[in-house]
Amino acid sequence: MTAALWHALVGAGLFSLSLYHLIVAQDLLRRIIAVNLLGTGLFVILVALGYRGPDAPPDPVPHALVLTGIVVAVSATGLALALARRVHASGGRSEDV
């Protein structure tokens, strides 16, 4: 097994684990974190794809994609938190979402 594959598998594990929690979690904060981790799992897979061993320069394209992905994720998270606050402030419950 190569290091890249191992890390890609770690990413897959992270993705699946987060998927489970995203489905079962009732708490909004937990769901927001779960979806963040889901994204991170995906990013791990992508970066592992870019890894071409200690001697060869890594493939920069997945890195660029992940950078974009991280920024998108933080934007969505910021929006999600603001929204979650309004849900609670207007009397909504996590379970209703």
């Binding site: 995203l22 995906l42 929204l83």
Partner: protein
């Protein structure tokens, strides 16, 4: 090289103009409506120009930054994309014109239907830019970014109404959209892992029916089905569309849902179909879910007690029709593909008109309960007429675009000998007719009405023109069917792939 400026690149304008407009509207908040409307007009104009250009027989193509694929990103517009762009621009123009009134900064908050009217304009313009970018993009990852713009802006528009239900709906929408985008991106990552490309055109020559590609296709389609609210993944749509402010609902139902369905069709016919990945079984599965959407969505529309909810469920059903192209056409664009393209276009115009009418109903009557609707003097005739016109197209009655779409879809289904789909389309038509007539017949009841209150003529010619906007949108839905030959001809431009 002379000093003359090159001819404007209409396609690029449809993406950059709204983004720039959004920035400006955000900075100059008090002028947001003027900036927003001007930008929308510009985009509508550009998209129509692009459509005319493409209709002339020349699909649009550009390599951004001068970097040819697979290194760079390509923009492409064939007939379908150009039509979708024009549809977005024109429906957007209509909704924006109406929003000039309903989201005007001078109005007291109680009349605006939102606590933050200023936010409508930047959100709408960002959405517009995102949608246009999506239709033009030929790059899998770039599509992911456009999907994110569209979905986050749509979430913002959902929450705009400031109702508690809208916040809950928007929250769910956000999580769903986030999950769906990530599923799509996972597919992109898997395809990159195996083939090392992101450009769709290049990928088309490389993909083979093998496990990695199949898994990639699975997660991409699952994500997009979730975003399209394909039955039974539609759970987020009715609350979101039913509780948003009317202008927002119109945009969400007419335009946003289309984007992801468009992507499904694009991937199916341009990427997975030609490479042998799309199987008959997969088409059948998605078609069956489409059939489920048609029946269940229409049934829920029949049962709905509020007009807005009825309209929202009708969207669930309409999305179902669009998925019928997959089992009916197999992997090559045919009659059914043309039919669903037509249905998508007509639905956008009819649905936006209908949601804008919902706003008028709510404003004038103070409620939108179907049982209590009457042909009240408070409800302008033009609104009743618009609802009727929009319903004609949504049911699929002649000579509307919805009719031509269904005709083609049925023809495809009959020529292929698919009894099941024929039955589904017919049953769906019957149900949607029931749902729509439930509303329309109320306008004919003679009502011991509240004292006849003369329809207050809106002040000024501009305001009066704005009042005609929903009517104009519904009229376009009808017109699309009347001159169906033209859009069908445009669809053939660059349809080879």
């Amino acid at each position: 090289m002379s000093d003359a400026l090159p001819a404007p690149d209409w396609a690029v304008l449809t993406v950059l103009l709204p983004l720039l407009g959004a920035a400006l509207a955000f900075v100059a908040e008090r002028q947001a409506d003027r900036i927003g409307f001007a930008a929308t007009t510009g985009v509508a104009l550009s998209s129509v120009m692009l459509l005319l250009q493409v209709a002339g027989g020349a699909p649009y193509q550009q390599s951004i930054g001068g970097w040819a694929v697979p290194l760079g990103i390509a923009l492409k517009a064939d007939g379908l994309a150009a039509l979708m762009l024009a549809m977005t621009g024109l429906v957007g123009l209509g909704v924006a014109a109406q929003a000039l009134r309903t989201m005007a900064s001078e109005l007291p908050p109680a009349r605006q239907g939102t606590a933050a009217p200023w936010a409508f304009w930047p959100l709408w313009l960002l959405l517009l830019g995102g949608l246009n970018a999506l239709y033009l993009s030929a790059d899998q990852f770039n599509l992911y970014v456009t999907l994110e713009i569209v979905s986050l802006a749509a979430v913002g528009l959902t929450a705009l109404s400031g109702k508690p239900e809208a916040f809950t709906a928007a929250m769910r929408y956000l999580l769903v959209g986030f999950l769906a985008s990530l599923l799509y991106l996972l597919g992109v990552a898997l395809l990159y892992a195996r083939y090392g490309v992101l450009d769709i055109g290049t990928a088309q020559s490389l993909l083979r029916p093998e496990p990695v590609a199949q898994l990639a296709m699975t997660v991409m389609l699952a994500g997009l089905a979730l975003k399209s609210a394909l039955f039974p993944l539609h759970f987020w749509l009715p609350p979101a569309h039913g509780n948003a402010a009317a202008s927002a609902s119109a945009l969400l139902s007419a335009l946003v849902v289309k984007a992801s369905v468009y992507l499904v069709l694009r991937l199916w016919f341009d990427l997975f179909g030609p490479t042998g990945l799309a199987t008959e079984a997969a088409g059948l599965l998605l078609g069956l879910l489409g059939a489920g959407a048609i029946l269940w969505g229409s049934l829920q529309a029949v049962l709905a007690e509020r007009l807005k909810l009825l309209v929202a469920y009708s969207t669930v059903a309409q999305v179902g029709y669009l998925f019928l192209a997959l089992p009916l056409d197999g992997t090559e664009r045919g009659l059914a593909w043309q039919g669903v393209a037509m249905l998508a276009l007509a639905h956008a115009f009819a649905k936006s008109a209908m949601f804008l009418c919902c706003q008028i109903v709510q404003d004038r009557l103070g409620h939108d309960r179907i049982r209590a609707l009457t042909s009240s003097a408070k409800l302008p005739r033009s609104t009743q007429l618009t609802l009727a016109l929009a319903a004609i197209s949504l049911i699929g009655l002649p000579p509307s675009g919805g009719f031509v779409g269904k005709w083609l879809l049925l023809q495809a289904s009959l020529e292929g000998g698919f009894t099941l789909w024929t039955a589904v389309i017919m049953a769906g038509t019957l149900l949607s007719a029931t749902a729509m007539f439930r509303v329309l017949v109320r306008f004919f009841a003679a009502q011991p009405d509240d004292p006849v209150e003369a329809e207050a003529p809106p002040p000024g010619i501009t305001a009066r023109l704005i009042d005609l906007v929903p009517f104009a949108l519904a009229a376009v839905a009808i017109l699309l069917g009347l001159v169906a030959t033209w859009p069908l001809m445009v669809l053939q431009v660059g349809a080879g792939g």
